[in-house]
Symmetry: C2
């Protein structure tokens, strides 16, 4: 039996200008453009091996060792688009095996616990699309592939690139112009770092898919956000990235996180993702910046209570010095030389703030999807 | 020594359409109109006795037994306006004593603990203005007096009326058209009730005066709220009151509370008044309404974590049945016949939710300021 195989890893990305709201639910077309930073795959990545053979009898998907349904229309849409592109390749060269007609076996694993509550679907769909694209030897046009990943999970399109990535919302109803593009590669600003505080929470969050549509349908402030606030901020944030202006980039990042959570709260019934610990972390970062007299750290929160704190390496001793002072009891500090940190104390901070956090992940900006020889098997 | 004396009580009011933002800080002119319900003075009121005599040597103010400074420009502005109106009265009748030239002694007491965190400044300034107006025998034009109370504390102007009250923002730069008016008297809808859950909080809230100006200056969503959202809601809410349509009134009340807290969160740095307990109460009320298939209870939160829950007496057995089920351990139930309550349980509610609440105050819609023979002395 001949089996064709390819493996790719793909990264997690954390938006600094948030995607919240779809104008087309089946195509995952957003109501606004967004921007993200791709995180290092050393710490957070999905590895996916795609195999195909004329002998395979059905499409199959294993996620973290578990056989998953492939019936979801989102996954189906991705496979269909990729097969269509492969068929085009095949039609131009009759000698190629007709992989587009074979069934696929896809095996996928994350190197981080799903339980951490970090959105893994972005890395998952990016790795799925990348590995099948490699398997099918499709042209390496990442923006083109990003449109396929987008159909799987909106924010997945941004995980097709490393560094700083924009998802341009587009205007067409078929979504052909709603794609990810590179704002700047990793090499442009390689010193950008991220500390993720995984915040414990007893309640189940509103899933982002239903949450965003509740906001679209009920928030009185939402239309103003997508029509006025985000378009201006999108241009400003791209400029701040090009200029490597951390102060501006950080301010815009924090403001957009707050704006996103504000329209969640303005939904009816209101949606809450930030809890009391999230709020304490927000205050801590504002106080650190105040103490420094400039913005050296910036928080952002997705659809959950976890904090992602961006900073430039040049300020690592202070930013991690603050975090270590309050969160030293958590796992996640092993990789750091603690003697290089400056202890930073903020008056009035709750000494038990660490109790609301389960772990810290210290990582940095990273590359886009990578081909690998590592093969996952079942 | 001849001493002239008058006493008045004045109520607390809780906004259902929120006042948040000043366009003129010294005159307390708001960026939007607001609406409130006046609460019963049986449960919450300020009693103020104003005295004046040619023998008094300086203006003095005692609040809850403590001598307070009268140097605040806000209190001074109130006294100045009241003396001016008295001088007009005196000029039309030469036989009247020249009280406008005498010093004032003002003694004021709340019948509720200030520690409860219930905005007492509204009742305080309303009682101060009412008692001096009585002392001075000023014409009984409450909208006129509301402009004076407004200079003391913006929301105080709404405590000059009972029932449902609108504070019309006005347009003039001198504030002469920024005044409270009656939307409907207590007698129009006397069955409206309020349950106040006093939520414990470890942190000090951002004071509302500085908080609202931070929002005015930094929130990108705020302008949309005051220009588009509130003006439409103001008209809709007045209609719902006239129609005694609790479902509509309740929906608008909850939406406006959320909108106000959303623009607080959209401020920079963000302002948080709701804590995790507040959020649990919000969810509880939405689930109760869902269970009933209609809105029978509506929450609203001011610049703090305390919940005020409005409902109509016709649904008291269910609304208090729910609250008693989760908050029976708190003080405040003494006045109620508990046998008349229907136990209402909401699946998934944290049984320890009561631990975040210190007391419950069960009250109802009430009258405006009342003259009284009760005299406070030092």
């Amino acid at each position: 039996m001949t089996v064709y195989t390819a493996s790719c890893t793909a990264p997690v990305n954390i938006a600094t200008l948030k995607y919240w709201g779809k104008r087309d639910k089946s195509l995952n077309l957003p109501t606004n453009s967004s921007i993200s930073v791709t995180l290092s795959q050393k710490d957070l990545r999905t590895l996916t091996t795609a195999s195909t053979s004329s002998e395979f009898t059905e499409d199959k998907l294993w996620l973290n060792g578990k056989l998953e349904s492939l019936e979801s229309p989102r996954t189906k849409a991705c496979l269909q688009d990729l097969r269509k592109l492969r068929a085009q390749v095949e039609s131009s060269n009759a000698e190629l095996p007709k992989l587009s007609t074979y069934k696929l076996h896809i095996v996928s694993e994350n190197n981080f616990p799903t339980a951490a509550g970090l959105a893994s679907s972005a890395a998952g769909f990016a790795a799925l699309v990348s590995s099948i694209a490699k398997l099918y030897k499709l042209p390496e046009d990442m923006s083109e592939l990003s449109k396929i990943a987008r159909k799987g999970s909106g924010s997945a399109c941004r995980s097709l690139f490393g560094g700083f990535v924009a998802w341009e919302m587009g205007e067409l109803t078929n979504g052909e112009d709603s794609k990810a593009v590179e704002v700047a590669p990793l090499s442009h600003w390689p010193t950008l770092k991220a500390a993720i505080l995984v915040v414990s929470d007893d309640k189940k969050d509103t899933p982002s898919t239903s949450g965003m549509q509740l906001t679209v349908g009920t928030s009185d402030l939402f239309q103003h956000r997508i029509k006025e606030v985000v378009p201006a901020r999108f241009e400003e944030m791209k400029k701040s990235i090009i200029a490597k202006d951390f102060e501006k980039f950080g301010e815009l990042t924090m403001k957009d996180s707050n704006s996103f959570h504000a329209v969640c709260l303005d939904s009816y019934p209101p949606i809450f993702y930030l809890n009391d610990t999230s709020k304490k972390i927000i205050k801590l970062i504002h106080k650190l910046n105040e103490l420094e007299g400039k913005i050296i750290a910036a928080y952002t929160f997705d659809a959950g209570p976890n904090a992602v704190i961006y900073y430039d390496e040049v300020n690592e001793s202070k930013v991690l010095g603050l975090l270590h002072n309050y969160f030293s009891k958590l796992g996640g500090w092993e990789s750091k030389d603690l003697t290089k940190l400056t202890k930073v104390e903020i008056e009035g901070t709750d000494d038990e703030i660490y109790k609301g956090v389960s772990r810290i992940i210290l990582t940095s900006i990273g590359e886009g999807p990578q081909e690998t020889n590592e093969i996952l098997t079942i």
